[in-house]
């Protein structure tokens, strides 16, 4: 029997999940294809870009990101922000070592 207040989330239609799965498969093939091309210095950003799109798909659809509270999004963005801080500032040290004073 349904209790007084309605269950929290209305489950998404099955087709949405299958479509997302299809999209993820396509993007995986795209990643492999992009891997074999020689984009020179652009190969890593492209690979990471595709991976980020796939991760975003998983977060938004599979992990119900679309219907989550804004606080969830703050947590997601915080994790990306602090990871970038760590990688970025560490790389800044290693990259700027060669520059003469």
């Amino acid at each position: 029997m349904a209790t007084a207040e309605h269950s929290t989330h209305q489950p998404a239609p099955l087709s949405l999940y299958l479509a997302t799965f299809g999209m993820l498969m396509f993007l995986t093939l795209l990643t492999i294809f992009a891997g074999f091309q020689n984009f020179g210095m652009w190969s890593t950003p492209i690979a990471l870009g595709i991976a980020t799109v796939k991760a975003a798909l998983v977060v938004v659809i599979f992990m119900h990101g679309y219907s989550s509270s804004p606080l969830t999004w703050i947590i997601i963005l915080a994790s990306m922000f602090f990871l970038t801080i760590m990688l970025g500032l560490m790389l800044s040290d290693y990259m700027s070592r060669g520059w003469a004073m």
């Binding site: 915080a78 602090f82 760590m86 560490m90 040290d93 070592r97 004073m101």
Partner: protein
Amino acid sequence: MSIVSLETKTFEKFADVPSRNDDVNYLSHDFSITSWLFTLDHKRIGLLYLVTITLMFLLGGALAGAIRLELLTPKGDFLTADTYNKAFTAHGIIMLFFFLIPSIPAVLGNFLVPLMIGAKDVAFPRLNLFSYYLYFAGSVIALSALLLGGVDTGWTFYTPFSSTYSNSYVIVMAVGLFVVGFSSILTGLNFIITIHRMRCPGLTWFRLPLFIWGMYATSVVQLLGTPVIAVTLGLLGVERTLGVGIFDPRLGGDPILFQHLFWFYSHPAVYIMILPSLGVTSEVIATFSRKNVFGYHIIAFSSIAIAVFGFIVWAHHMFTTGMSPYAAMVFSLLTFSVAIPSGIKVFSWLATMYGGSISFDTPMIYAFGFLGLFTIGGLTGLFLSTLGTDIHLHDTYFIVAHFHYIMVGGAVLGYMAGLHYWWPKITGKLYSQFWGKLSAGITFIGFNFTFFPQFILGYLGMPRRYYEYPDEFQVLNVFSSAGATILAVGYLMPLVYMPYSFFFGEKANSNPYGGSTLEWTNTTSPPSPHNFEKTPVVTEEPYHYHAKEAAVVSH
């Protein structure tokens, strides 16, 4: 009224919150051992932490005593070189990971966060108990590492010494810290969800007590920083067992990478230690000046600012390692960004006291001590953030003095202030104000006597972690060791009069100091097992003090 009033003052004028029956509170409703060891009640878990942490503090303090005794004489004649190295490593590890990081969040935080936000318990009680047992297991593993033979790498575990050259029990200690790290993560997680989702009706974010803001900022830092030290210790373990050269320069690795990964956590860790004390001080100064906190929003946001800025400044520990000068300048500039919020807090507290009605109870005396020492500690940080002076002062006793002023002068005095302020709520008993103020005074004097000479020693150039030192440093070292004995007395006194008050102290009513937060106004001392008879509804902004004939709480 004399400044130091000796008799214990109770505020009978404040309405006592009647509980259904006086004898049933969270302490007396069940005396069995299992009810304590398997309790899910956040208040009892707080007390479990209190006992374990006090033992760890005493062990760390004893090691500090041994170090200060050794440094009385230039030649090393009390301990052998190896034992001295193991002593200061153990002192560092125990005091930081097993006392300072868990002290206020686990003891006062566990007890007060649900009470202050009108909740029945933390969001995940079972997880809370699991955190305690993780802390307990971590400390058992760490102590076994010390008993097996100790660790001689310093609490920073710098490679390649810790990974290839040290033949002490580094891995056992690393496992211990790995385990205790997760206890810190899970406590932080618990508090964040509790504060977000379990506030009572009417308690908006800007009606929250500032202690809760401090705990929230601390939990954010615990959540974001601790996993990185976990994976760093994991890599150190892999490097030490398999010798695969991730940090070993002979095999292509880079020891500076270890320092980057280590300090990415360990600098925010010092903000885990100080933020709770900043929260406690806001509460104590507001209550004992009986005046609302000046610039509430600014203080709340400055706690969050300190938590976030704490993550972008870590490389000021590495200015002399030969990192690139440009990166050093970037980190030096960023490090100044942390000094500003700390300054704002201190000036706002002064403005809070301005025009207040200040009573000199023990917590307030500790808070005065905190104000002075935290200011000196913070300002000496400016020497180390400025590139020009940091080169000379790095790895000298100036740094030892700086972080002791912040940790011992700041965090521990804040912890003592909090303990004395909420003791009547935790135990329902009043401790003797005379002994409380006396111990605060002795601690303050002993502390300054111990650590101020070390600033001068540092400027003279005496390096850290020296077992033997040149003769010209002896005079100041003797001063410092003498001061340490006074400090020891100051710390041991609460161990006497606090337990004494627990058994023989005078019964405290529900609001002896006239506090304005929910735990004072809506719960009995000590609180009932389910905290509140009825879930409170908050209708006013925080720190709103009323004239004494306040309406009795309707129930």
